[in-house]
Symmetry: C2
Subunit: 260 residues, 2 copies
Amino acid sequence: MAGRTSQPGQSVTSRVLAILDTFDIAHSRQSLSEISRRAGLPLATTHRLVNELVTWRGLRRCDDGHYEVGLRLWEVGLLGPLHIRLREVALPFLQTLYEATRENIHLAVRDGYDALYVEKLSGHRSIPIISRVGARLPLHATGVGKALLAHETPEFRRDYLAQPLTRPTRYTIVEPGRLLTDLEQTVHRGYAVTREEMTLGSCSVAAPVLDRHGRPVAAVAVVVDSIRVEPTKLAPPVRLAAEGIAARLDATASDVAVHG
Amino acid sequence: MAGRTSQPGQSVTSRVLAILDTFDIAHSRQSLSEISRRAGLPLATTHRLVNELVTWRGLRRCDDGHYEVGLRLWEVGLLGPLHIRLREVALPFLQTLYEATRENIHLAVRDGYDALYVEKLSGHRSIPIISRVGARLPLHATGVGKALLAHETPEFRRDYLAQPLTRPTRYTIVEPGRLLTDLEQTVHRGYAVTREEMTLGSCSVAAPVLDRHGRPVAAVAVVVDSIRVEPTKLAPPVRLAAEGIAARLDATASDVAVHG
DNA sequence: CAAGTGCTTCCAGTGGGTGGAAGGATGTGG
DNA sequence: CCACATCCTTCCACCCACTGGAAGCACTTG
């Protein structure tokens, strides 16, 4: 950028994006100096760029001077294919699944090595859980993740297993051999099961949404209290929802290939 | 910006934002030249900036060369207060309302002179409707809009009525006098009713979510087929949901003031 | 195979971007 | 009341990242 820059080679655009990158679920409201510090930009520069974002309504300045993500950014984000193609098609099926179970319902896709939560439904009777729309959780510790991983190519699975696997609870399966067996069972029976592998006290049953070539596009899960878990009862409605979404996506022609 | 710019006075940031502004629901997938034309920027400049956005994953390049909104933009947008505060709190109440009616459920806030849809639930039995999350519809023609407008300040209502009102159907109430009477009734009975005012064939019953000072923070609605409409039956569960959300927001302390 | 359409790359010239510094606003505690 | 800390806002002289016309490439069409 022009001027007396302290970090030559960095573009204006990259600085604006660095500012947006400082926002995450633990930092959804930040002061100017906080943004400046976390983005690694001088205060004056941050001030100028943040003001431009506020004018556009991509950020919003609260009464106490803190900044949060604004309406415009929210609106633009909702134009992505995850929302207008996948979520819009899946929602009625997720609702039906919710009616049948009244438990937490998840819809997720794979992005890199993460399960990315696209939708989450929960009622008053559902157990409280940590996931939220937009959240990322590891593939090997979640129901949706294992359903997705099980239908990935052998190369992808190998690469995934080659990296160190996080262990959120003592029940998380991190041994490559055991995990592979679990994934094979998942493919065989048509659904994945987790038992307190991500959070103590909650279990899940998940089914993959496959495209016409058998590639995993998304996954649907029901998350329940570990005491109430009865996979054989939950699996049929979950699979029905997943298959319904798959058929509907296929009918809508264009692929929903959103991950790389 | 530096260089041989054709439009002096325009910042780099404003150009990046102009590129994002070219995306809307009717243009969720665009070619580079389309973005360039719609943003009013030279092709070479657009190319460079779009590439930076793609690298950041704010935009995504499809196989056919078109661009769509990417994951990063979607993720950041979900960090806004509408999603993490309002939606998260409201969802269980909306689910309960859905269970009771199995019709389309709307949650909206006011932004300027528009009703901005924050959440929409619909099952297979719900009638198909045009609204979607992120959509904007006029305040005077929608249930949520009238519920919000009815509880705004007299000054705001006056200003709103002073501008020309759009008329989506022949049933839309555009006469200031009639609309005011309708809004007074809305306040009095505690809920708003629309009868084919936005779309022929659909009616709605809506209730406002008020903060502790009585200011309208959001509105909840049920949208049904005009034949099945029975406002007196739908109103109680809708009001219950709205009041539940209001109480829960109040308990969560901080205001959800997101509009200006 | 020429003409059209759309994308990518190049690079000389320059004006918008930069950030240290100064000043203002607010808070705190002695 | 003042000293000190923290945070935000404004200013401006210097200069480098940005610009966009043009040329080249890829692909389609008649």
